[in-house]
Structure formats: structure tokens, C-alpha cells
Symmetry: C2
Subunit: 272 residues, 2 copies
Amino acid sequence: VTPPAAGRKGRVWLVGAGPGSPDLLTLRAARLLARADLVLYDALVDPAVLALAGRAQRFCVGKRGGRPSMDQETIHRLMIRGALRGKRVVRLKGGDPFVFGRGGEEALALAAAGIPCEVVPGVSSALAAPALAGIPVTHRGVASSFVVVSGHAESAYRSVLGSLGPHSATVVVLMGLGSRAALAAFLLGRGWSPSTPVAVLLAAGSEDAHAGRATLATLGTWAPPDALADAPGTIVIGEVVALGEAITAAGRPGGSVPLVAAVEGGRHAGSR
Amino acid sequence: VTPPAAGRKGRVWLVGAGPGSPDLLTLRAARLLARADLVLYDALVDPAVLALAGRAQRFCVGKRGGRPSMDQETIHRLMIRGALRGKRVVRLKGGDPFVFGRGGEEALALAAAGIPCEVVPGVSSALAAPALAGIPVTHRGVASSFVVVSGHAESAYRSVLGSLGPHSATVVVLMGLGSRAALAAFLLGRGWSPSTPVAVLLAAGSEDAHAGRATLATLGTWAPPDALADAPGTIVIGEVVALGEAITAAGRPGGSVPLVAAVEGGRHAGSR
């Protein structure tokens, strides 16, 4: 590791790592990683992305499921200390740095400490997971808007999904795999049709990507393949999901994923 | 231009160009552009991005405001013809290919013609414009979800914004600059507070980026700087906009944009 230049002012970049696959990183993110002195990364960041930060000290500060993790204050302290020592600090976050994941809190902590900070947007899983599965979140005549919610607890989605008219937008749920039964029951209770198509997109953007299919009626009993039981997942709810089938009919819309097979596999899984 | 290899099967990639700045392109998009035989691009794509497609024929197929443009059927025909001739065709779209902009229709047309197609997600302006202005679309205790709508006509946002509970999510509006007065009136009529903070983000990701500030009460009379009267814009509505001010206090969160100045300039513009 090259020591930072004496007297150089440090700064922090809050960088989106995209949905997983290293080639969905932005050019700006790749350049910043190559120049970084210190990289503080989330647990879900791909090792091939980290490998781009060849000269940096690298620390995992992420949390995963229920496992113990570094607390948020410690992450703030590490960023601030690095910058005060003149380091180029990259805080590398899965997807986009400002979609869930406390990016705003980290930016506020840096602002309060007087540390210059730049935000580098990334490809969010909320959009990339459906796109890689051939599902357009908007489509003329089908959906002219979409809603992105965190599914980790009902308190996170109650106010928006509780008021939203049934079928008035595509609904994208991040961090909602564990509460998929409650989520489906919630929407059914709000008047959504049981036959509403649902896609469950696991490990999107990675080589293990899997696109499962269900409906609101079957989402609660849908189960992921065993190998992907701990994979991150994005749930997409709405008629646009059915378009994904027509779109994937001709080939592989998603780059690294054999999607026709994946959708068929998902349909099988959905019928269990 | 190198002729495509004889007998090679052509294919089409629907590629997101990101919000403007070439370094917010993904590595995958840059690699595909470098190898492309034919690039069909939207009007808003940055010339520096196109320059990456050094060996390709390049055609602008985009529309801009009310000006005449190629019809959608013609775009489909050009993509299909190119692929049938064995070419590597990149359909380059602003932002993300599946967020508005008829990416789904293009993918369906390719599927119907039996042309292999891959979708390459991009950084969407819906998220990048606020992030570059230091505005987190979600923030613990402030907003746990966000809604993205097209603002070009009331029919596009009526069902979702008409049902959504006031202040229950951050609202991001694309293509809504021209209807900002109607949009503000619509939300005020639904019970949103007149003091709800609003950011109007023009030409996000480019060197001309400008972050204007308003409230729902003043959005209708807010006016862009003359030089940016035709720039694309993203409107962000909700309390998270106020966080952007605190976050930008320490420096330049948005890479290429001097945001403290931009926010102050916007506040000035908002007070006209």
C-alpha cells in the first residue's frame, strides 16, 4: 500500500457497486477503486469488483441477514479517520449508494465532520434485477410508474402499499424475501388480484442468477432453490412480469443468465 | 467500418447509457459499444459516449420535445434488419433501457422477429439525478420507499399519485418539467403540504447540471435558467430533498457539479 501523499486532503466517495456482476460497475467507480487508498465494502460486493482496488486496504463493513456486523457509527468513524489521514476512501455499497442501505446517513456524518464527499450513482438492483430478467418496470399501456419499497418489515411498506391503488403501479420489493408471505397477504388484503404475476429474482447480475415465478396467491409458499436460500432477492409484482416471458422467448435478455430456462425453473418452483 | 463476419448471427443489445456523463456508463456498455457494428442512439446520449463506438455505423433515432422523430416501427425495423445481416447492434438508450422510453416494446419486437436480445441495465436518471445532488431517495425515518412516475401527462401519473397517501413516499418525476404546475396542483389537491420541499434537477450528470429548489407551493412558477430551458429534468418531491442541503454542506457530493453553488442558485431561481 502506497502511503498517502503528505498533507494531501482526504475525501470520501460513496460508490455504487451495481447489482453484482463486475461489468455492471460504472467507469467512474472502476477508476475510483483503482486509485483508492482505503475501501470499506458491503458484504454483497463481488470479489472481482474488489480486485479492481489493487492498491487499497480493504475492509468488509457489511451486514448479512441476522449475523453480527459493524455498527453504523464505526463505519462513520472509519471513513472519517481515513479521510483525516489524507486517504482516498471509497465506501463501496451494493447497487446504488442512496437506495436503502444508509447512504444518506453516511453522507450526513461526513458532512457533519467537514469531510468532502462525492456520491457516485450505481446500477440499482431495483431496476437491474427485473431488466436482466427481461422485465420492463414500465411499459406503455401496462404500467406508467413503479414503486420501490423495502420489504424487511411491514412498517417499511405499510404507508405506501397501504394507500396505493391496487394495480396502479409496478411494485419492486428489495429485502423482502423473508417477509414474502406477509407482503402477499398485505396486497391481497388491499384488493390486488390473486393472479397478479410475481417474479422473484435471486442473485441478479451474478452467475448464479435465478428468476422464479409466482403469483400473489402463491408467493407465500414459493421457495428458492436450496443453493440460493441465502441469496439476495428482488421481488417484482405486476402485469409487466408477464411481459418478461414474451421478451425472454427469443433468447437471453440478461447477459449472463439463461433466462428462458431460469423462468421455466422458477415456474416449476412456483408450483411447489 | 469492418463488414460483419460472413454467416455470423447478429444480435441486439438494449443498452442503458446512464444519465449523461460518459463515466457513468457501465463497463459492459463500454465494451459492447467498442465491438458494435451498428449503434442506434437516443437524442440525449452524450457524444463522448458515442465516441466509444469507434467502428460502428451510428444513427440518431431519438425524439426530443415536440420535434419530429423516427417512428417506433422504423426503429424496430432498423434493429431487426441489422441483426439479420449479422451485425452486432447496440440500441443505446438514455438512463436505463427499461425505465420509460419503450425499451419493453423494442424487446418484444425483437422477440417476435426471433432476434436474440440482451438487456444491459444502466444508471437511471430517476436515481442518479437525486444522488448527484446529494439527495437520498430513501432515508431511515424520512422515506422508506420511492415512486417513479412519468410526468408527461396526467393520465400517466393519475392512478398512482391519485391513490398514494400524501407524504408516504419520495416521488420522482421524469419528463415532468413541462407539466410541473399541473403536477404540483394535483398533489396539493390530494393533501400534500404546500411546504413540501422539491428539487428540480436539470441536465443531471452533465457539466451543465443545475439543481433548483422549490416547494410544492412554488413549483408551478419555478423557472429554469434560460440556458437550460430545453434540458431534461428530474423532479424530486419529499422531505428527503431537505437532507440534500445538509449533505451538500461539506462539499461536492456529485462529482462534476459544484452543488452548494447549484443549490443556492436553484434557491434563487425558485424564489423568482
